[in-house]
Assembly symmetry: C2
Homo-oligomer: 217 residues x 2
Amino acid sequence: MPEDSVAPSTARTKVRRLADRGRYDRETIDSILDEGLVCHLGFAVDGQPWVMPTTYARVDDHLYVHGAAANFALKTLASGVEACVTVTLLDGLVLARSAFHHSMNYRSVMLFGRAERVDDPKEQYDSMIAIVEHLVPGRSSDTRLPTPQELRKTLIVRFALDECSAKMRTGGPLDDAEDMALSFWAGVLPLSIVPGAPVPDVEQPAPDYVNRWTRAR
Amino acid sequence: MPEDSVAPSTARTKVRRLADRGRYDRETIDSILDEGLVCHLGFAVDGQPWVMPTTYARVDDHLYVHGAAANFALKTLASGVEACVTVTLLDGLVLARSAFHHSMNYRSVMLFGRAERVDDPKEQYDSMIAIVEHLVPGRSSDTRLPTPQELRKTLIVRFALDECSAKMRTGGPLDDAEDMALSFWAGVLPLSIVPGAPVPDVEQPAPDYVNRWTRAR
């Protein structure tokens, strides 16, 4: 792994407990961000924390989020407050022999920093396309593209992937030795996000990129 | 809907934009909390926001989260700082004719308040059982139950459901009138969390409540 692909570990990003679950390489971080659909934006106003779900896209070394120009979260983030953005993928439920050792398999990324407002029209346009393409690969070439007026109605901010870390749990249950002989079933129930049948707005066969949509690794 | 089942709308919980997406009745709020598996805990320390994913369970009028006694997020929450807890269910991708009107169908709950540390051993025990049962209904009667020593190693906090609101988007794309004649496919791709085949820790048939696990409504 080349040195420049490693996000430096800082006091904020260093995984404190269960340190073997921490990952700091951009390959891991990017793969989680690129698989996720929703991020949770955290910020505080007058000491009151807010956690807002929204979609996003990663483009190179930035994560972009957008919303209406009047959106409270976006306006607050664009003002440059400290933020934390978290993306969590739930991979499975871990059923241990003891209630105490029940757990989840997951992969998450936590990103710290201040948002930058995106004012360049080309970057605004590209990031809006990137978000559509992130949600539904193939869609951006099969939709009516954004107009300058639509871009003016949209507030877009970006976060540099400078200070971020991944955390994950994989594998089976970790039971205490003295519980291993118990007869309770133990194992993992894998979970994934699966599409149902597309629901057309007007009767029209769905395109291939919709019918084949998957978030499976 | 009886009056006492309605969480009062406050300056924090009132849904500001797209107000028709806001819901304040406990039936809606509880159904989202009971379907979700992961919440995102938001809090700030010295102005720095943190957003941490974890599991939880609702019991009556409280949401319980737990972790190791040394867990940074739990210790911070137990100290009584202001918090925001968000649960988000992703129901579908909304493909509009225009890139601009792409959206997501979702249901989310946002809860504000300060955590209370749970010190009563019976409430600790019950909430640990509730979390196992919330993840895998039927499991709590088929696992080795928590010991007093395990409860001492666990930090449990609860949030009262006093100040919370739900927000949701349902239905198809909302395109501009002038885009309706465009030939791009438009509609919704429904998404849900689906279990795979259980992976046993040692060869043993999975119990019915594992094989039948579903989070479908």
